[in-house]
Structures are given as C-alpha cells and as structure tokens.
Symmetry: C2
Subunit: 136 residues, 2 copies
C-alpha cells in the first residue's frame, strides 16, 4: 500500500470510511484506510490479530460475501494529540430484522506525514439481542 | 484528586501501578492513577463506564473483598505520541487454581503537565479456561 495515495486529512475521515467499508462489506475499501504497519485488530471475543496482512485477511474473511449490516455509530469519547487519536464508539449493528448487537470499539488513528490512517480496532460485545421471527 | 500529587513520569509507570492495584485488589491505589476527567472503562463483556467517579465505583465493586488474582501482563503493542500512549496488552489472569482467562486490553494514558495518568481501559475476553478440580 502506498500511504501517499490515501487522502484522510482527519481521524474522523478515516472513521467514516472504516464504517462505510464495514457496512458495505467492502474489504477492498478497508485495505486503503489501515496503516501498512504493525497494526492490531481485536474482533469481538477473539484474540488480537497483529500486522497489516493478517488484519486484512481477517476483514476479507468477515466481509466478503456477507449480508450487509446496518451500522449506526455513536461516538462516546475522543482523545486526541497531534499525531494520535483514540475514539471510543458504540456500534449498533443489525443484520436483516432478526438480530442486533451493540459493540463497544476503541479505534486508534495515527498521523503519517499529512495523512491519518487506522492502526487499531478493538471491539467487544456490549449487548446482544436476537429476536425470534413470528408470523404475526 | 490532585493530579499534581501523582508522580507517574511515564505511561509504563502508570501501567505497572494499574496492574499492581488490580492484582492486590487495592481500589484505593487505583484511585490515584486515573485522570480526574471524562475517563472511560470497559470491563469484559460490559458497557462502557464514563467518568472518574463511576469508573472508581466499578473498580471498588470488583476489587473490594475479592480474592487476589495472579496477573501476568504481556505487552503486544505500544503506540505513543508526545502526550498520548496506547498500549495493547494480554492479561493472563488466574484466581486460585481453578480458573484462568486471557484478556486483551487497550490501555490509554495521557500526559497532564509533567505527569501521565490513565484515561481508558478497554478489556475483552480473549480466551477462558476453567479446570475442574479432581482428587487425583
């Protein structure tokens, strides 16, 4: 990945693109917003995945061919320095009408030269809800 | 809390004190290493707790009177700027001989004037193991 090709001028820009890629099940879009570095991703209930290639494989496994979820993101807290930003967000994720979950995620962004890229995503289940289908 | 009373000159110093307080079940020691600010704590499987007072109540609830766990911490990754540090660590936690778990935690530290304090702890279960006691 050529970092200079990425045009994220703010952590918020990376975050918007991250959730767009996630909700569109677009693993190719996911590839351009992570730093090509020792990034780390913790999917809910899993061990940490370290390194750009391994993290991209995990997203391709999750997203490719999956049903596109609806994701609503509420920012809980942002902590920012000149070159590092930590966002804690609630992810309200629903797939079809049958299930929904609330995840808590810590997203970390780092500034490389003029551009921001994602370096960590740590998500954990905050609340899970599965509704049975009925005919009425 | 008077931040100036705290003497943590590095994120590592805060982290060492955090895990000492955790493993000693010492909620009073926990009180002096968090920033008196809109801090956030995500205990495994729970929703985010926001604000110094609420976070301290959660630690008192967890630690006061509890059996002291053995905690081994392995640093997975540190990402640091001048005033913000993000550490991802594996916490190997065991209580007695009956159960052990591996948690993945993102710990965030912020520099206030000359001193570092904790502003976020986000822990999630990575691996859980419970061993049945036998007589042999």
């Amino acid at each position: 990945m050529d970092i200079s090709q990425s045009g994220f001028s703010s952590p918020e820009g990376v975050e918007d693109s991250f959730y767009a890629a996630f909700s569109n099940c677009d693993s190719k879009a996911m590839e351009i917003l992570w730093a090509d570095d020792e990034v780390i991703c913790v999917h809910p209930g899993s061990q940490g995945i370290v390194g750009y290639e391994a993290v991209m494989r995990s997203w391709a496994y999750i997203l490719d061919g999956a049903e596109m979820p609806a994701i609503q993101v509420n920012v809980v807290k942002r902590t920012v320095s000149d070159t590092l930003a930590v966002h804690v967000v609630e992810e309200h994720i629903s797939t079809g009408e049958s299930s929904s979950a609330v995840m808590l995620a810590t997203n970390v962004y780092r500034k490389y030269d003029a551009h921001w890229l994602m370096v960590e995503h740590h998500a954990s289940v905050s609340q899970m809800q599965a509704e049975a289908h009925t005919l009425q």
